[in-house]
């Protein structure tokens, strides 16, 4: 599991991904962590197969008892099917996840961890000196879906939005945007169901000051590429399977 520090200030953001030990049949995913002095929030902790390498990687940054919060942007297996295992490892933690999905996500096993349901209009997670905003991203692609925005670090963790299906060992950041478009096109057209939801999300996100857009698959976008991505996404017709 590769680890990349993407923000270093009063606290840190760390990206985990490009796990070399994962089976080829499983989609590669990026996990993100906010590390404050005494607490950690892990965003989209990943699937069952990823649990062991992910937890091991976190041990380079924080002890188990400081993993106090988990976040799931939506209910997908690549997002949070490891929940039953985290439930054993960090029984004291809280899971912030869409309230709408509670009865579904609990199928993954959530006996000790506290499920904190996020209402449809979003909310915040306060992690010591980090104040994170939960931005509604419904129907992108899941019917109840949230992104995490950190105004201090200027990072938007955007779940499946901005995702690309790439080969192993892809770089962490998009370098040539034009070349990258093709890797994102089908994913967004097929997985994202609603042009209306997309338009409203873009309006909302354009009002945020974003330095890094951090998706759950593929490469992150930095600086001007964030704006390029929003323009590209705006012009793209989605929901193509019907």
């Amino acid at each position: 599991m590769k680890m990349t520090k993407i923000y270093e200030g009063a606290y840190q953001w760390i990206m985990f991904g490009r796990d070399e030990s994962k089976p080829d049949s499983i989609i590669d995913s990026n996990q993100y962590m906010v590390r404050t002095a005494n607490r950690c929030l892990i965003m989209d902790p990943g699937g069952v197969e990823l649990f062991a390498p992910m937890l091991a990687a976190v041990m380079h940054h924080a002890p188990v008892e400081q993993i106090t919060d988990l976040f799931a942007s939506h209910q997908d297996p690549d997002i949070v099917s490891s929940l039953g295992l985290w439930d054993q490892a960090v029984p004291h933690a809280k899971l912030h996840a869409p309230a709408l999905w509670e009865g579904f996500i609990r199928h993954f096993g959530c006996n000790s961890i506290e499920y904190v349901g996020i209402p449809d209009n979003g909310g915040t997670i306060k992690l010591e000196n980090a104040e994170l905003q939960l931005i509604p991203a419904h129907y992108l692609h899941s019917s109840a879906n949230f992104h995490v925005y950190d105004p201090q670090a200027k990072i938007l963790m955007s779940g499946d939005v901005g995702a690309a299906l790439e080969g192993p060992g892809a770089p962490m950041f998009v370098d040539k945007f034009d070349a990258h478009m093709e890797k994102m096109r089908y994913f967004h057209q097929r997985w994202m169901p609603s042009n209306q939801a997309k338009r409203i999300w873009i309006e909302r996100v354009r009002m945020l000051d974003i330095e890094i857009l951090a998706p759950q698959h593929g490469r992150m976008f930095k600086g001007d590429n964030v704006k390029r991505f929003l323009d590209w996404f705006e012009a793209l017709q989605v929901g193509i399977a019907v």
């Binding site: 030990s21 994962k22 089976p23 197969e49 649990f51 062991a52 390498p53 937890l55 091991a56 990687a57 041990m59 380079h60 940054h61 924080a62 002890p63 188990v64 008892e65 039953g84 295992l85 439930d87 054993q88 490892a89 960090v90 096993g109």
Partner: protein, 205 residues
């Protein structure tokens, strides 16, 4: 990739097989109960000639009822057994993955902090295993009791044959009743025996 061996898929198969064996036993017990009612009607018509047969039919009926009750009771326990099988599997899997994680974390600054989770899940796993074994032993005992009425039914069937031989023109129909009780008892006996060996496999896995 590090393969994670699941606790034992054969355990789930065994649990499912036990359930199907037992529902078959239930069907057979119902058949016996029907045969007893049938025999009672014949014995009634035969009157004097089948006097010795009447208490036997009541007895057969009692045995069938007892078997059905025992199995109903057993099914309640079996539900706990399924739940234990699943939680044992879950906690066993979690333990293996935590163990792997702690191996992968070797040399990491905070790797020692995994020890507490590892220990507590190991204790939970052992606890679950112990409960599971205890439960299987209890179920084995219960299956032993289910066999009692089946064994008694075979003895009764032999008696019925003797009684039937004195029933004149009703001989054939009463003999058929004795035959079906005997067969049913045999089927119950065999099914329950299979359940017991399935259960013993589960505890030795």
């Amino acid at each position: 990739m590090h393969p994670i061996n699941k606790s034992s898929p054969s355990q789930f198969v065994a649990v499912a097989s036990i359930a199907s064996e037992l529902s078959a036993v239930m069907e057979v017990a119902k058949e016996i109960s029907l045969a007893a009612a049938n025999a009672k009607a014949i014995a009634f018509r035969a009157g004097e000639k089948a006097r010795g047969f009447q208490p036997i039919t009541d007895f057969i009926n009692e045995l069938a009822k007892e078997t059905i009750e025992l199995i109903n009771d057993f099914n309640g326990h079996a539900l706990t057994f399924y739940k234990l099988t699943v939680s044992e599997h879950r906690i066993g899997d979690a333990y293996k993955r935590l163990e792997l994680s702690s191996k992968l974390a070797q040399g990491a600054q905070y790797s020692h902090s995994l020890q507490a989770s590892l220990d507590s899940s190991k204790i939970k796993m052992q606890d679950c295993r112990r409960q599971f074994k205890g439960h299987v032993m209890k179920l084995l005992d219960q299956l032993e009791t289910v066999m009692h009425p089946a064994r008694a039914a075979r003895v009764i069937a032999a008696n019925s044959r003797i009684e039937a031989s004195q029933a004149g023109e009703y001989l054939q129909s009463l003999q058929a009743v004795a035959e079906s009780v005997d067969n049913a008892a045999q089927v119950i006996h065999d099914n329950v025996q299979r359940c017991r060996s399935l259960l013993s496999v589960v505890v030795t896995v």
